[in-house]
């Protein structure tokens, strides 16, 4: 049986540095939910000296999607007879009355797809039915929603729409910058956007490191972050250069700029953040499910006992929520941070907290 824990010398040095770090105390927020889960799955918190604290931030698109959005998606399926296509994560997120999973149980046509283009393809194959894709996500997923609209125009479809709740990461950085000493920036977001946003944060005096997703990439990024923090000067470092470039992906950015525009957006647990969302431009309103089906606005109602908002902003740990692990579990989630596979509460629960 293999059991050699072979590690490269630089990785070994990075781990030794993080374990023995004795400089000023530092709080690092991993903004991205995928980072949070990988950190737990790999047990990376065990490698950190007591002087280093990791905080889980709001970077899970499912967690910050408000109950009102789920309500509108449920209404599309049950009241308007629309086939609702969604990423799997959203299925069990509670709305005010019910989740999409429950809506399916009540006869709504709700389907899990892996990409917006799959929903567009379904619409092309079934011109007799209306389809809506639940366009939820950050900069990583927004371009593929725009691509689906692009294809719907190409294919002359009149039965495909998006229900948008797309959000942008810089708004989260701005909202969270006082909750942390520095950020672990999400690599796949900056693969699309490039480094302009993190440079801007540095100019505002906020430091951070762009990190990849393997254990080695996360450990390396953390070691760089802690080391540079000790120098006392605001900085940014791209520790994921094999994927992230200065300019990002011009094609993806152009696609988004063609079809979408910034808008104010409601973040579950945090509230309204100006210019933090993306919606379809007026010229493409026929692809906007909210416009087409005249879906009423409304932020929905979350469980009042749920502390998701504080968890998302790094103000409390999941275990500090009175519902955690008792009323709220992955099987019966009360809040989005527990239901999402990228949520902080789900990570704490599944991996048994900080072992």
């Amino acid at each position: 049986m293999k059991q050699n824990h072979q590690m490269s010398a630089p990785l070994r040095r990075a781990i030794d540095f993080l374990k023995t770090y004795d400089g000023p105390e530092v709080r690092i927020m991993e903004v991205c939910g995928t980072h949070t889960h990988e950190i737990f799955k790999q047990g990376i918190r065990q490698l950190l000296s007591p002087k280093i604290t990791l905080i889980s931030g709001p970077g899970c698109p499912v967690c910050v999607t408000p109950a009102g959005y789920i309500d509108r998606a449920v209404a599309l399926a049950l009241d308007h007879g629309v086939t609702v296509c969604t990423f799997g994560d959203l299925m069990r997120v509670p709305g005010t009355e019910m989740s999409l999973s429950m809506a399916r149980g009540r006869g709504g046509d709700v389907r899990v797809v892996y990409a917006p283009e799959d929903a567009e393809k379904l619409a092309a194959e079934h011109p007799e039915k209306p389809f809506a894709f639940l366009s939820v996500g950050f900069e990583t997923t927004t371009p593929s929603s725009c691509l689906a609209v692009d294809h719907a125009i190409r294919d002359g479809l009149d039965n495909f729409t998006l229900l948008t709740a797309n959000k942008t990461m810089p708004a989260a950085y701005e909202a969270m910058k006082n909750s942390t000493d520095l950020f672990l920036y999400p690599g796949h977001v900056h693969a699309i956007t490039g480094l302009a946003d993190v440079k801007k944060m540095q100019q505002e005096g906020v430091s951070g490191v762009v990190a990849g997703f393997t254990a080695g990439e996360l450990i390396t990024a953390l070691a760089i972050a802690v080391k540079k923090y000790g120098e006392g000067v605001p900085f940014y470092v791209n520790a994921y250069p094999r994927v992230v470039t200065d300019e990002g992906s011009p094609e993806a950015k152009q696609l988004v700029a063609k079809y979408m525009e910034p808008c104010d957006a409601w973040w579950r647990g945090i509230g309204m953040l100006p210019d933090s969302g993306m919606r379809l431009k007026k010229a493409y309103a026929r692809f906007d499910a909210a416009e087409r089906y005249a879906l009423p606005e409304g932020n929905g109602k979350d469980n009042p006992g749920c502390h998701c908002g504080d968890v998302l902003q790094g103000r409390c740990r999941p275990e500090d929520c009175p519902l955690f692990g008792t009323v709220c579990t992955p099987v019966h989630p009360t809040g989005a941070c527990m239901v999402s596979s990228e949520g902080a509460c789900s990570a704490y629960y599944l991996y048994g907290g900080e072992k």
Partner: protein
């Protein structure tokens, strides 16, 4: 005798000439043996030992997937359930719920692979039933199989017998069946080819029982995969299980697909993999004995049973940390990014 049309109709389930034609031309032709008669029940020689009995329903969609089909699966599932109890599979029955419109050629392929798989396991199909339901009331075909086996292991096997110090073995790479079925649904537009591990395992299990007479636990890692089975054993035996992540065999294509969809191979179904828990001094003998069978040549040790942290499965990571393997509890859903 009535000739079979290209597709199943409701008349094939009505009990008349067409039912008779279906039974003779498909099931009897493939399942032929001296115990399978036209009478109301099979008359079976009584085995000399205790018998084990198991039943299972199969509703996989799609019915045909890379590396197998629902018929092969229906035999493997029941044969392997019997094998896990140290029982040599002897007799099988099968019940078909067929959707009107199913192509007869598909049913023929399903029956042929059932006969072939049963023969590989050393069992015979002795009785069956056919029902045809209207279009839309089933998904092509559902099959239920029931099996009777003769207990041949010296010591009873049970999920409650794992003991601290035991070795935890898995008989090959994990998660292939679940991944193959997921890909064959073609919902995710992922261009990868993964074949199911579907296989009847009585022969390797029989060899394991001879090589390691004190084998404690054998479980097939079907729905819920290896991770779920390990938690079941940890609960049943009230022990901890420690895994070494770098020892868990995963096919690179399966790992790639799981990475893209945010799934964990340890929770994907296997249909030809066993988890075996055995005193550590017998682990080498089992690995040697099973390495010669094509379906279990990937057998390896992935961890050990511990007295610490009862009912938890601990993962030792490749960076030297320890985490808990999350206990599965909900439906697997691909994540957003």
């Amino acid at each position: 005798m009535e000739a079979l049309p290209e597709q199943i109709t409701l008349a094939h389930g009505a009990g008349g000439k067409q039912t008779s034609a279906l039974i003779h031309q498909i099931f009897e032709r493939h399942f032929k043996n001296s115990l399978l008669t036209a009478d109301d029940a099979a008359v079976l020689p009584r085995p000399g030992h205790q018998i084990a009995m198991s039943t299972d329903g199969f509703v996989v969609s799609p019915a045909f997937f890379p590396g197998g089909n629902i018929g092969e699966l229906s035999i493997c599932g029941t044969v392997n359930d019997l094998s896990c109890m140290g029982a040599k599979p002897l007799y099988l029955t099968c019940s078909f719920i067929i959707e009107e419109g199913l192509e007869v050629s598909k049913l023929d392929r399903i029956a042929a692979s059932m006969a072939e798989t049963a023969e590989k396991a050393g069992a015979v199909l002795v009785a069956g039933d056919t029902k045809v339901v209207g279009k839309g009331q089933a998904d092509q075909v559902f099959i239920t199989t029931t099996g009777v086996g003769e207990i041949v292991s010296q010591n009873p096997l049970s999920g409650a017998k794992a003991a601290p110090g035991d070795a935890v073995l898995v008989t090959g790479d994990v998660g292939r069946h679940g991944c193959a079925v997921l890909l064959s649904r073609d919902e995710y537009g992922i261009d990868a080819h993964v074949e199911s591990d579907c296989a009847p395992l009585w022969k390797p299990v029989s060899a394991a029982l001879k090589a390691a007479p004190d084998l404690h636990v054998i479980r097939d890692a079907t729905r819920g995969g290896v991770g779920t089975v390990l938690y079941e054993i940890a609960h049943q035996s009230h022990v901890g299980i420690r895994l070494h992540s770098d020892a868990i065999p995963v096919d690179p294509s399966v790992a790639g697909v799981c990475g893209m969809l945010g799934l964990e191979p340890l929770y994907l179904a296997c249909e030809g993999r066993m988890v075996m828990i055995v005193p550590k001094e017998e682990a080498g003998a089992i690995i040697d004995a099973l390495s010669v069978f094509p379906d279990t040549q990937g057998i390896c040790q992935i961890g050990e049973v511990t007295a610490e942290e009862p009912e938890r499965v601990i993962m030792e990571t490749e960076i030297g940390t320890q985490t808990y393997l999350p206990e599965p509890g909900t439906e697997l859903l691909p994540r957003i990014c």
